[in-house]
């Protein structure tokens, strides 16, 4: 579902958030550190900072629904991925370099729009818990006419 070009964009190191909801249909959401698109493009792994995993993990384990939004600050190209929780991935530490490389690129993109990295030094974006999601929908959220349209 996610082709190679889109996967490159999504893995390029973007600001990204994971949204869930609880049994009372109240939304929850956390900033996540990175995503990795699996080779067939139908599944992805999202890296949730351990410090806030308890905000969304119970929702994922309860009902499985997830949404991830990723946007590039320099041009506002934005994509939302809808997904279904498949499970926790063992040994997220093995992907540490990949995750931190994406995070480093995210900080650079902030710098490109004039936001220095110094204030974000205390953000706790690692270690992470990795969760695997099945991709159920892809939407463009780039601002402007057509925002919200499904990506084929």
């Amino acid at each position: 579902m996610i082709d190679k070009q889109l996967a490159e964009f999504l893995e390029s190191g973007l600001p990204m958030y994971l949204g869930t909801r609880n049994g009372r249909l109240e939304p929850n959401g956390v900033r996540i550190t990175a995503v990795r698109i699996e080779p067939d493009g139908t599944r992805l792994v999202a890296y949730i900072p351990t410090s806030v995993a308890d905000s969304v993990l119970p929702d994922l384990q309860d009902n499985g629904h997830a949404a991830i939004v990723l946007g590039r600050p320099t041009d506002h190209r934005t994509v939302q991925i809808k997904g279904q929780f498949l499970g926790i991935v063992d040994d997220a530490d093995a992907d540490r370099d990949l995750v931190l490389a994406q995070w480093e690129n995210m900080l650079r993109s902030f710098e490109q729009i004039g936001l220095p990295r110094e204030p974000t030094a205390a953000w706790t974006m690692w270690p992470c818990i990795a969760v695997r999601l099945r991709v159920t929908g892809l939407f463009s959220q780039t601002p402007g006419p057509g925002a919200g349209a499904a990506l084929s």
Partner: protein, 456 residues
């Protein structure tokens, strides 16, 4: 709510995009980036409704929502749990939010396309700090300790400068110099209404490589915040212009792809090449627009929330000072009793010749093929040059006022502002044609070159 919403005012500047999480009635979460979150009162915020239709459908079905904000001073993230209450499409709150969006839109020729559809009002159920986006204490302390921009001392200094100015020219220069030296605003400009309805003209600038005096801005027709400030007669502050411009640019590209706007309408930014913060203030006296003050900075979020009320107050003070000076100069010039002698003009240097062409239909003057000025200042210059060719060298404001060919309004003609503008344009573009003040209401036209006059 344990954390007061008022304490998060820095977060509402839109410097870092906010996140908006909703959920449909069948339980599918949705996450979208937000253009604006606006403080309404201690228990309510308003979110801008522009494009995110899925979020809007969700809150219509299920009013629970979550917004995440980041404080640009401390990098602390905040979670606001919300409940949708209502939408407003008119009123002061809507106007305030729409004005900011329209100001950005106007830079990209997107007015009418990039616009606010509604201000959605939410009750704030709770405010919690985001645990992963933890603020840096050192940054927080530095931000807390930062001096406010508008201090009493700086205001006193500016006031003294204003009181010391004895002409409109000195007053305008004193204001801009005071803003730089007392407040640290290095880039500023003042525009006044021109004699063309709906057009503002730049009369004084400071801190730019080119003075820009004479540059015109059409009120409310898509030329950045200055035109918007003049149209709405309200201050506009933009905290992170680069990010907002990037946002407008992508909307523009999408609008072009959808055939909603033409490709050639983008209007370049005035002033700084890459301003990050802009503050435009209308200079109003009893509802009359005397001018617009625009301050720019290359620093994001240069003008904090607490500065806003002060700059509005300062704007009123400056407006009264400028209008008083205009009226005072006009009154002094009108009482000028002496008849004008016709001294022989000094012979101009033959070293250089200027070709001055007046285009009567357009009321516009070109010097050596380059645009100099138009409208009333152009008519005045043409009269001065043709009179000088007949032997006149000195003039009074009074005779200009009485000259029917200039067609000045009987009340508030702003002649002194027009003469100042003309003098500054000549200084900038052809300094060998000079308007030199002789006394209040009296001036000479001096030529350091031969002038060839042509009318077309």
């Amino acid at each position: 709510m344990s954390i007061a919403l008022e304490s998060l005012t820095s977060c509402f500047q839109g410097l870092i995009p906010a996140l908006f999480c909703t959920c449909s009635s069948d339980g599918i979460p949705n996450v979208a980036m937000l253009s604006q979150v606006e403080y309404v009162d201690p228990t309510h915020v308003a979110l801008s409704f522009q494009f995110f239709n899925k979020s809007r459908r969700n809150v219509a079905e299920n009013p629970n929502a979550l917004v995440r904000l980041i404080d640009p001073d401390t990098a602390q993230g905040w979670l606001l749990r919300l409940r949708y209450e209502r939408s407003e499409t008119t009123g002061p709150l809507f106007d305030r939010m729409a004005l900011r969006i329209e100001a950005i839109a106007s830079y990209s020729g997107l007015k009418g396309i990039f616009k606010l559809l509604a201000a959605d009002i939410y009750e704030v159920i709770s405010v919690e700090p985001a645990r992963e986006e933890v603020g840096v204490p050192a940054i927080r302390q530095r931000a807390a300790a930062a001096d406010p921009v508008f201090t009493m001392k700086a205001l006193q200094d500016l006031s003294q400068r204003i009181h010391g100015a004895d002409s409109l020219e000195r007053l305008l220069d004193s204001i801009l110099a005071g803003l730089e030296e007392s407040f640290g605003f290095n880039h500023s400009m003042i525009l006044v209404p021109s004699d063309i309805p709906g057009v503002l003209v730049t009369i004084a600038t400071r801190g730019y490589p080119e003075s820009g005096v004479g540059a015109e801005i059409r009120v409310g027709e898509g030329e950045g915040i200055i035109g918007m400030v003049a149209e709405a007669r309200k201050p506009i502050r933009i905290a992170g212009l680069l990010r907002e411009m990037l946002y407008a640019t992508i909307v523009r590209e999408r609008a072009q792809q959808a055939g909603l706007c033409a490709a050639h309408a983008r209007i370049p930014l005035p002033g700084l090449a890459q301003p990050e913060s802009q503050l435009g203030v209308p200079l109003l006296v009893r509802g009359e627009l005397v001018g617009v003050l625009c301050i720019e900075s290359e620093t994001p979020y240069r003008f904090h929330e607490e500065d806003k009320a002060t700059i509005e107050l300062l704007g009123s003070y400056l407006a009264i000072a400028i209008q008083n000076m205009q009226l005072q100069e006009a009154a002094a010039a009108a009482s000028e009793p002496e008849p004008i002698a016709a001294p022989q003009p000094k012979p101009a240097s033959a070293a250089k010749q200027r070709d001055v062409v007046y285009y009567a239909a357009d009321e516009c003057i070109l010097v050596d093929g380059e645009y100099l000025i138009r409208s009333l200042p152009a008519k005045i210059l043409w009269k001065l040059l043709t009179s000088r060719a007949q032997g006149r060298a000195e003039f009074t404001n009074r005779e200009l006022r009485l000259d029917k060919s200039l067609n000045l309004p009987e009340w508030k003609d702003n002649l002194e502002s027009r003469l100042l503008l003309l003098r500054r344009r000549l200084d900038q573009k052809c300094p060998d044609i000079r308007i030199v003040p002789r006394a209040r209401g009296r001036f000479a036209l001096e030529l350091g070159c031969e002038v060839q006059l042509r009318m077309q």
